[in-house]
Amino acid sequence: MPASSTTSAQIETHMKIVNLPIGPGEAREPFTGELVYGLGFEATVMVGIGGGIGKIGNDSNPHNPNGTWSINQTHSISYVKDGVEQIPAKSDTDVSKRSFFNYNSKGNYSSIRYRDHPGAVIGKFKTWSSTQRFSITASRDGKQYCSVSFQLDIFVDGGEKYVRWRRR
């Protein structure tokens, strides 16, 4: 079920304000304004019967706690910062009730749309190379029904930098 036109318009307005542009490029940290080099993307998840979305990441949906659907984004990363390889981070939940999201509440919380801009804060290193793997899933009663996965590579070395991504 698509989001209602009112909700879509509201989301659109708010998303324009968000300093997290879609596509490869730079966003900014709140307050400090530090540049974050990475990839902006937006995810829209729609679910069918089952009382709508009751959980985002590890958080209960306070507006619809009895919804049987769980939406999750998991993330893992391995990176080399200033020539030093760091311990890879395990697959971790990377979306929450604190994320930039909006529900379609008129559709019984049957859809959610959120925006993210994963990336590295440039200025905190001289060289950077990272691979991040993301999975966005929709589950119900512990069973995963739908997912999309992609990989994001970021490289920074002085003035040279690039972002590369592909579906997995």
């Binding site: 879609i22 990363i77 930039f100 069973k143």
Partner: protein, 255 residues
């Protein structure tokens, strides 16, 4: 050219079929904790007032090490470990104190640098939220001290700033200390995230705190953040439109 990545997942009619995997995982972790005490574990398993056994110090440390293992740890297991510690903490005040003390000791290290020490980041990522869920008032100072400490990898979920998430999870018990930060801390970023935390927690105390701090705030940007937050509350002191508030606050001081 802007390149859009829009993932639309359309879910149709499905069948129920829960496998209860998270409960099984928690039970397995509990069983592991009890059946495999380490050789160095000399402390007896304490019992609470209801006679239920608590974890030993070694068992708690072993559980905390699950967050910082070098081996890839599935998110399900990390969450199950956190849930197990939360469950044990709820069984008795003795056990709760023991877990909070061990957790704070593990987290409170000098010269923390999440970007160069992923193990410490992951411990904070789970530990801060666990302390928040436990409403561990004794940990508020520790979390607030690290309120602006971030991992170099940004996430829209704010997971890269774990103390912030922990403080917010604490709820209203954190507001007095956050109000102190807002009124007296010379660091603008600390005051900004104090506003962020207070507004996110919400409630009557949050409204009073922000209203009373408005006059004394000298930074125009932080003053705006306070005003916008006050105007974003509903009659219960909760943010009416989360994404709108978050969007404005996020961009407020960076333009």
């Amino acid at each position: 050219m802007r390149i859009f990545l829009v993932f639309t997942l359309i879910m149709l009619t499905v069948f129920l079929g829960g496998d209860g995997s998270s409960k099984k995982e928690k039970d397995r972790l509990l069983a592991t904790s009890y059946s495999s005490p380490t050789v160095s574990d000399k402390s007896p398993t304490t019992q609470d007032e209801s006679g239920k056994p608590c974890l030993t110090h070694d068992e708690i440390e072993s559980a905390l090490q699950r967050f910082t293992s070098r081996n890839d740890l599935e998110v399900k297991e990390a969450n199950a470990t956190k849930a197990m510690l939360l469950d044990k903490s709820k069984e008795s005040s003795v056990c709760r104190n023991k877990i909070i003390t061990a957790l704070m000791k593990a987290m409170d290290k000098p010269h923390l640098n999440f970007s160069d020490n992923m193990a410490s980041y992951v411990l904070w990522r789970y530990g801060a939220v666990l302390l928040g869920e436990l409403k561990a008032s004794e940990a508020i100072d520790l979390l607030i001290k690290h309120l602006t400490l971030k991992h170099v990898v940004f996430s829209g979920s704010m997971n890269h700033q774990p103390a912030l998430l922990g403080v917010v999870e604490m709820g209203s018990i954190a507001i007095p200390k956050l109000t102190e930060v807002l009124r007296h801390n010379p660091d603008g970023e600390m005051r900004f995230y104090a506003v962020w935390s207070i507004a996110t927690i919400g409630g009557d105390e949050a409204v009073s705190s922000l209203r009373e701090s408005l006059e004394s705030e000298t930074d125009e940007c932080i003053k705006s953040a306070i005003s916008i937050s006050l105007n974003s509350f509903d009659d219960k002191g909760q943010i009416k439109n989360w994404v709108q508030w978050r969007a404005i606050i996020h961009s407020l001081c960076t333009e």
